[in-house]
């Protein structure tokens, strides 16, 4: 898999922000996710934001245990998957730092938490971010708010010299919604067609 960098970003080998259209929870999405998180081998730290899956599920899906860098998970809890479930889930060893954001956290609060970890990790070294997922976020907040949140997040990622990819399940949204969000990203990877399109 390869991605095409933005024209005016020709100096970097990877685009900062990639929208990953992955139809449903499936192995292909996880595989590409792993590749984006670990592919270059130069990224030392990982920041994983998970909403629907528990931190352990998400780590199992995309973590590379060979990798030595630090892993931080921001667990955006939902009412259905509460702290109780999360703490039961966290039984057993994991090397990752996990921060739980309670279900009532609003987007400003979530931005705050992500920003704190992104700032910390990127001060220590190159950082790759997995945001899982835009689809889940659209269940918590309306489309304009999520769009604005992602504009800020993508700007923050760029400022931190990090790279990030954002999962979205295109099957559950109007095509217009996905096209609206496309403009926020440097590049869009569509796993339905295995097409790699430049935004």
């Amino acid at each position: 898999m390869s991605t095409t960098p933005d024209e005016d970003r020709g100096s970097t080998e990877m685009p900062s922000n990639v929208l990953l259209l992955a139809p449903s929870i499936g192995e292909q999405g996880d595989e590409v996710c792993r590749e984006l998180l670990h592919g270059t081998g130069q990224r030392h730290h990982r920041l994983i934001v998970t909403c629907m899956e528990s931190p352990r599920q998400r780590l199992a899906a995309c973590a590379d245990h060979e990798h030595a860098g630090e892993v931080t998970v921001v667990d955006v809890e939902t009412a259905a998957r509460s702290a109780v479930a999360a703490s039961a889930d966290s039984a057993g060893p994991t090397d990752a730092v996990v921060e739980h954001a309670p279900a009532e956290t609003d987007l400003v609060g979530l931005g705050d938490v992500i920003d704190r970890h992104l700032t910390r990790l990127s001060a220590e070294g190159e950082t790759a971010v997995c945001f899982h997922s835009v689809t889940a976020l659209l269940q918590r907040a309306d489309e304009p708010a999520v769009f604005k949140f992602l504009e800020v997040l993508t700007s923050t990622v760029e400022r931190a010299d990090a790279v990030a990819h954002y999962h979205v399940n295109p099957d559950v949204h109007d095509p217009e919604t996905v096209r609206t969000f496309e403009v926020l990203f440097d590049s869009v990877v569509d796993l339905r067609t295995a097409n790699v399109a430049d935004e």
Partner: protein
């Protein structure tokens, strides 16, 4: 040049310039003490178009979409924060509101974006209004960015091209403001919803 446009004589509703410079941005000042209102207006007039209002009716009448920052006396008769904020954030009026107060406010428990304790030192006044003005610009530009992206999602041909050009301009304007934000402030500027019920 008299940049004042007081409420009584609503001479020009200036065309909302898309890439407005500070001088074309409008600040509304309303204190129950006309001397305080005039002093504050005099300091800000170097950099902003200032509207002075001496009572609550004028202040409310002055709150239109051109206003990007409003400085309002919390003790002005008839100018309850609730009335003001019901106007702000509804429809097209979306300005930053700072309270002019006699003592410090707990912003988290109030409906204001910021507060200024009187008497306000000119440096602090200008600095605060500059910051609020940047937040207002970011907010309104981001809203237009979303609207344009949403329109583009269903556009084709020439129209899509025009919208793409507009998006590129807006993106640049957003970046220009974003660099002035520290830490997670951009999330707050982009997404903070003032809770009218907390007034």
């Amino acid at each position: 040049m008299n940049t004042d446009n007081t409420t009584g004589g609503k001479a020009t509703a200036p065309n909302r310039s898309r890439d407005d410079t500070a001088a074309t941005r409008v600040v509304l000042v309303a204190d129950r003490d006309p001397t305080v209102t005039d002093d504050i207006a005099a300091v800000l007039r170097d950099s902003y178009t200032v509207r002075s209002a001496y009572d609550s009716a004028d202040a409310l009448a002055s709150l239109d979409p051109d206003v990007s920052v409003a400085l309002l006396d919390t003790e002005m008769a008839g100018l309850s924060p609730r009335r003001v904020l019901e106007r702000v954030r509804t429809g097209s009026v979306d300005c930053q509101v700072a309270a002019l107060t006699d003592e410090a406010l707990d912003l988290d428990a109030s409906a204001f974006d910021e507060y200024l304790v009187k008497p306000v030192a000119p440096d602090h006044l200008v600095e605060t209004v500059d910051r609020l003005s940047r937040r207002a610009t970011y907010r309104t530009t981001l809203e237009e960015y979303y609207q344009t992206a949403s329109e583009r999602a269903t556009a084709a041909g020439d129209r899509k091209e025009r919208l793409d050009d507009r998006l590129a301009e807006l993106d640049e304007q957003l970046d220009d403001v974003f660099v002035s934000f520290e830490g997670s402030e951009a999330y707050d500027a982009a997404l903070r919803e003032l809770d009218v019920d907390s007034c």
